[in-house]
């Protein structure tokens, strides 16, 4: 508890994300999420008691849309982030520990992959697939590039760890490579892995919202990015339908700020040298 008081970013991050979680849970109890489908409410209503967030032009109740859509967007981010960090960690650990040809290949692929603008490659993939993606397919598309950054950063960390004395001792005592990775290296990098995970969940959500705003998302799912796509599609801004975009934007802001502060907080745990600053 005393530590939490010093690590304010961690507290802020957790608080923001818990508030969002509460909103979704309470929302699910209060509102019928099937109202997030088109034609379930009168179109373009400003917020009122019946529709606390108003309704959009296709007759979705926006409160129900937010309650149903927030977990969907988080799910895309979480699946893609998990896959990304999972694959990235395996490649990062293996290439940095064993070095050799594997390391050269992984490093080459990652270096090249990172200079290419991710969103554009994702656009290319999404355009070539058939229309009508599901939320899970969307997550997998996003994950196809989400492993590059974790692989790079984890590799760099392992490179410095593998020269430590205790790794040397483990090697001399006859532990196999995979044993050393799992039993010696991983536990030391756990906070770091957690920070990487949060970070890649955040960039996966950003990528998925980007694709959705461009119209390449799951057209009939009420995710946050798709809501923004409809906002843009119907020019809600010029028409003065402010309630249509304030709700999704606020939630997206809370998601990104929450994840950002969580990363900063976790970074502080992973890297004690950061603590004395600020």
């Amino acid at each position: 508890m005393g530590y939490l008081r010093r690590n304010l970013s961690l507290v802020v991050g957790i608080a923001l994300l818990s508030a969002l979680g509460l909103f979704v849970i309470i929302g699910h109890l209060v509102v019928d999420t099937s109202k997030s489908r088109p034609l379930s409410a009168p179109a373009v209503q400003a917020p009122s008691l019946a529709h606390p967030f108003g309704t959009d032009r296709q007759g979705r109740d926006l409160f129900a849309t937010m309650v149903a859509g927030t977990p969907l967007t988080l799910r895309i981010g979480f699946i893609a982030g998990m896959l990304g960090v999972g694959i990235g960690a395996i490649l990062g650990f293996a290439s940095a520990y064993y070095r050799g040809r594997l390391d050269a290949v992984v490093r080459g692929v990652v270096d090249i992959g990172l200079t290419v603008p991710g969103l554009l490659v994702l656009i290319l993939i999404a355009v070539s697939l058939r229309r009508g993606l599901t939320v899970n397919q969307m997550a997998i598309i996003v994950a196809s590039l989400a492993w590059l950054n974790p692989a790079r950063t984890i590799r760099a960390q392992v490179l410095s760890l593998r020269e430590r004395g205790y790794v040397e001792v483990a090697r001399l005592s006859g532990m196999s490579g995979s044993e050393i990775i799992v039993k010696e290296l991983m536990p030391n990098l756990l906070p770091y892995l957690a920070a990487t995970l949060v970070n890649s969940v955040s960039s996966a959500i950003l990528a998925s919202i980007g694709l959705e705003v461009l119209g390449l998302g799951p057209i009939d799912s009420p995710t946050l990015g798709m809501t923004l796509y409809w906002v843009n599609f119907n020019a809600a801004l010029i028409n003065g339908w402010w309630w249509w975009w304030t709700a999704p934007i606020t939630i997206i802001l809370v998601v990104f700020l929450g994840l950002f502060f969580l990363t900063v907080g976790l970074d502080e745990i992973a890297n004690p040298r950061l603590r004395r600053v600020i």
Partner: protein, 334 residues
């Protein structure tokens, strides 16, 4: 060893270009979509009746686009076309070529992206350096939390908010496009002013977010540099504080920032594409958005390829310039 490094770096660049082209070619072919048939059917539906000669038309267009030849012939032709930046005709704007459309949009994107990147990098780096400097004025500390928070927001979200506040509510600045509708592009003072007024909001939404990122990175670097022995030595020698700040701390901390710039360009560009879409800015992002909507595969491919090559060239230049900035790096083999 410089020539050695240069050759290797050029090789990587060629590899990136080849990979981008190959990905472009096979992804669309693997999907099993038939853009020609789809477009013709769509047009037939718009016309309200299905033409009897549709199959023949599909055949004819496929011959003209070269889609009836074996796959490897198509691939080789594609590579040779692409190496000459020839991306064929746009499907949705038929008589116009993909090249013409991209060439029209590129100056807008380069203008917007170039200005905002230079601005945010310079301001952010300076700000970050000052934020870590103990001699900086007190009020600067206040800037930290908002910079942090802004840094976590996607460009286009801030763009939406700015657009609502400054273009819709106060109507201070124009909302959409690159210049006023009806204005005739010419090198007159009014037109240039018009273009600048239209660029302010999109640029601001990129600069405000990106500056925070550079400031945070620079601040971290400065904190490390200030702990170095040579800074202590400089202080002990009694050098002026401004000299230590500029030539001992900033000079050394700025180098990793430059590498970070090369790595961040891709992300900045991805974000800027969405900003352009939101503001209807006539750059590459907006035509990409329309190309996606109209299922214009050739145009999408052309844009993606052009951007990847442009970024590849930029990072190549940055990588080659880097050792000139930092004499410690000579790219000798270790």
């Amino acid at each position: 060893m410089r020539a050695d490094y240069l050759l290797k770096r050029l090789g990587v660049f060629v590899l990136i270009v080849w990979l981008a082209a190959t990905l472009n070619f096979f992804l669309t072919r693997l999907s099993g979509q038939d853009p020609v048939r789809a477009t013709l059917l769509q047009q037939a539906q718009l016309g309200g009746y299905v033409q009897s000669g549709l199959e023949a038309m599909v055949k004819e267009y496929e011959r003209r686009f070269g889609l009836d030849r074996p796959l490897w012939v198509q691939y080789v032709t594609y590579l040779s076309d692409v190496s000459r930046f020839n991306f064929n005709y746009s499907i949705s704007n038929y008589p116009r070529t993909v090249n013409e459309i991209i060439a029209e949009a590129i100056p807008w994107t380069i203008g917007l992206l170039g200005t905002t990147t230079v601005l945010s990098f310079t301001i952010g780096t300076l700000l970050g350096a000052l934020l870590a400097w103990p001699g900086a004025p007190r009020w600067m500390r206040v800037l930290m939390p908002p910079l942090w928070a802004l840094h976590a927001i996607p460009f286009f979200l801030l763009g939406l908010i700015l657009m609502y506040v400054f273009a819709f509510r106060i109507q201070l600045l124009p909302m959409f496009g690159g210049y006023s509708p009806g204005a005739f592009p010419a090198l007159t003072l009014t037109f240039v002013g018009d273009v600048i007024a239209h660029a302010i909001l999109p640029a601001l939404s990129i600069v405000l977010v990106a500056t925070g990122g550079w400031a945070l990175g620079m601040r971290g670097m400065m904190v490390t540099t200030q702990g170095e022995d040579y800074v202590l030595f400089a202080e002990a020698k009694g050098l002026r504080r401004s000299t230590i700040f500029l030539w001992y701390c900033v000079r050394n901390a700025i180098l990793p920032q430059t590498t970070a710039l090369a790595l961040a360009l891709g992300n900045i560009l991805s974000g800027a594409v969405l900003v352009e879409v939101i503001f209807g800015y006539p750059g590459v992002g907006t035509i990409l958005f329309h190309a996606i909507r109209e299922n214009d595969h050739f145009l999408v491919q052309g844009i993606v390829f052009t951007i990847i090559v442009a970024l590849g060239v930029t990072t190549l230049i940055l990588d080659v310039v880097y050792p000139l900035l930092d004499p410690r790096i000579s790219y000798r083999r270790t």
